[in-house]
Homo-oligomer: 465 residues x 2
């Protein structure tokens, strides 16, 4: 087979994959079921257990050669009831606001905690507070998500620190509690929850998040005069629960002992429906299996489609998967994660040797008709980070990032905010990458890689009926 | 100034434009006002008149040197009441369904029209119908939007023909009325309205659209047995109304007599809020003026920001603008349209001489940090098509097209379906293009255009605070 026909066969295969997913894909209806019939599914909850059962069934129906559950012991955090109210200068009564405790935090043991609120705009300002402005106070970290950063994941890296650092820094100095401005790009009042962990050296204090609208008001009121807060909550850790990663395999025809892992995470936060985080990644992962089977693609290497448990507040699923890979001395060619929302795909993050990146970049012209052009970032994904630390090359799907942090870890992360075509195009790109990596490995440069960039589908491949 | 510093200054200017829009842009709040306080605004309606007043004010507040209204006489179509119901085989009564008359069509004069429904899947099948299967019947054109086409605008070009052709073809053969499956990618029951025009040779018949869900049911029922429809409506054309294009100018400092036109259209269909079609384009157009003024950019050529009237059902605004340009012998360097939704931008369609395309493509590396990489399509825009026929080079913003035809011309085209960051990024790209075209003209190739494609913001330009 000559160079041109080689490349054309790949181009046609990607087109077949796209047609199969866009016309017959089940991922959108799978997502509807997961969101509407199961709902949110924090690790340890009955819904998470139902999601495991559902995932096993869906993976089987997709046609995986082998499906099994990999045991994972996960932490179980319970939100319970929560309340936050402010009394501004000159007002007599406390007014309740929209609030979400940060995940894994302690509450007030259901007691009423009342204390003055101290506003700081960032960590620097907090560090400069005198001790008596911290001790016994409720510190309000009002750090803003940087809307000027076009890549919102950069903004998340920046503002997201506050969810972890603020409670620990305030606890270390004797604060009574912490309120953070949500790590949010939203023009709304949605509070965003998310993970944190107390350092062993501090006595845990309650930590909650408020939405941008409430944060704006609180900032203004704090600047005008004294503000008091009342906080009452009973969130707490409730031990460990046995759960599972769901794994589906298509056994390799030539090198079954070499693995290509691709996956998203099955757990979600305990609000909304975990639609984009990461229901989308799960149903795309299942769609890869379904599509390869529907098209009769027989991979040379074994494809492992994994729905990881407990990405959100412990990463126990990713750790268990890597531990098992190490224990069985498994050879992993690459691990690919989809956990950045089910929006229109734009690229793949690549974290691997430069020569391997070049292999994947040489397929750029094959991906371009599907809107995928960006191979310059280095995101993989949290669930596959333990594998990566063992030396496995990793890649992460990069959907359009603009909407993600409006919805992330909120009540608004629901099915209705995912578009069926965007979701499916993600599955197209993922299946395409799995197909190409399986076919050529990571040491191959596509002979047509220097084809001028052209986002049109090659004319000869356009369907006319 | 050397080559490198030249290019760096452009890169910095695009960064400044982005920061200005993302941090201080008013387009999202302008869109909120237009959608929520004025609402949909079909040509000729009082809301369209209010939108003109609003547009003039917003353009003035944005800082345009000169703002005026250009008279346009527009057709006025009135939907009135409409009803469609089906009686399926074995059922006694008619059941109403969700329906929208196609724009510019005639109704039933409020009389009850009852006739058998004849299903055809496409034009070919219609042509093969015997005459007695057409005459006096209600023909149901069940042509599906091709979900396999990644670029939904290609699918629109394909399925959109039915809105124009079906009523005319059926009328020519004596059908009583036409029902079309909506020109829609939606997984829902939204009917999509839109424009059509009867040929002079036919006697107009009513033509309506139903949503995908209803179309699926109707198809099934037609295949099972005889289906009758009842139709009642009073839509009609109601003469001509005086309206206006809203025009804002930033006067050129060196060549004020040469124009760069950029715009969207102010009118919308009479359902929903006309948020993405084309409120988004209008507020982006205003944002360009505001941003250039806020940054103190003094263009060499005169920038004309235009809110066109009557794109949807007559194009009278675009025609009036071009007529005026011809009458005044105006010199137009380029016209740029934004009328493809306020979603995350991906590129610009370019319809101009190849050498001029190459000029714009040579700025690819400047646009890439903002997600804009695709300069290979040739869409301009309807409003600027009359200018284009006079020889003016045209360009059209290409936002991500996946969601567009779920919402297009429906009740669901509302403010909530536009994301603030995506909307603003469109304004960033448009302002960037206006800036570069003004600065260099269309005969210049950027000396750094062969910089390897890299979607990261150049490190030296990243802000660290």
């Amino acid at each position: 087979m000559g160079t041109a026909s080689y490349a054309q066969s790949d181009s046609i295969m990607l087109r077949n994959i796209s047609d199969e997913v866009m016309l017959h894909g089940t991922c959108y209806e799978n997502l509807r079921y997961l969101c509407k019939k199961i709902g949110n599914r924090l690790s340890g909850t009955p819904q998470a257990a139902r999601a495991v059962t559902w995932g096993e069934k869906a993976m089987t129906e997709a046609g995986a050669d082998k499906v099994w559950l990999q045991p994972v012991d996960v932490p179980f955090w319970i939100r319970g009831q929560e309340k936050l109210a402010f009394r501004y200068r000159g007002e007599k009564s406390f007014k309740e606001v929209n609030v979400l405790a940060i995940g894994n935090t302690v509450g007030t043991d259901n007691k009423l905690l009342e204390a003055p609120v101290v506003l700081v705009k960032d960590i620097e300002e907090f560090k400069n507070l005198p001790d008596d402005a911290v001790k016994g106070k409720i510190i309000f970290f009002n750090y803003r998500f940087r809307q000027d950063l076009v890549n919102t994941f950069e903004g998340y890296g920046d503002a997201g620190r506050y969810r972890w650092l603020a409670p620990n820094m305030a606890a270390a100095r004797g604060a009574a509690a912490v309120i953070i401005r949500s790590v949010s790009t939203g023009v709304d009042d949605q509070p965003h929850t998310g993970s944190m962990r107390y350092a062993d050296t501090v006595k845990p204090i309650p930590a909650v998040a408020i939405g941008n609208t409430t944060a704006d008001i609180l900032e203004k009121k704090c600047k005008e005069g004294a503000v008091s807060a009342q906080m009452q909550s009973n969130c707490h850790m409730a031990g460990t629960v046995r759960s599972y990663n769901v794994i589906g395999e298509i056994t390799g025809s030539e090198h079954p002992e070499t693995y290509i892992t691709v996956g998203g995470h099955l757990d979600s936060w305990d609000v909304g429906e975990g639609a984009m985080d990461d229901g989308a990644g799960c149903v795309q992962t299942i769609e890869i299996v379904r599509t390869m089977k529907a098209l009769g693609i027989r991979p040379k290497h074994t494809i492992r489609a994994v729905l990881f448990m407990n990405e959100e507040n412990g990463l126990k699923g990713g750790l268990a998967y890597a531990d098992s890979a190490r224990a069985h001395n498994e050879k992993h060619m690459i691990a690919i994660e989809t956990d950045a929302g089910g929006f229109s795909p734009r690229g793949f993050g690549l974290d691997m040797k430069e020569s391997k990146k070049e292999t994947i970049r040489s397929y750029r012209h094959l991906f371009l008709p599907y809107g995928v052009y960006d191979f310059e970032h280095d995101e993989g994904g949290a669930d596959i980070s333990p594998l990566h630390r063992m030396g496995v090359p990793v890649a992460g799907l990069l959907p359009d990032p603009q909407r993600y942090f409006d919805l992330h870890h909120t009540r608004a992360d629901v099915f209705e905010n995912i578009n069926h075509r965007e979701l499916k195009l993600c599955a197209v790109s993922l299946t395409g990458l799995v197909y190409l990596v399986d076919k050529y490995g990571l040491g191959h440069i596509d002979p047509l890689s220097d084809t001028p960039i052209n986002s049109n589908v090659p004319h000869s491949l356009k369907k006319t009926n």
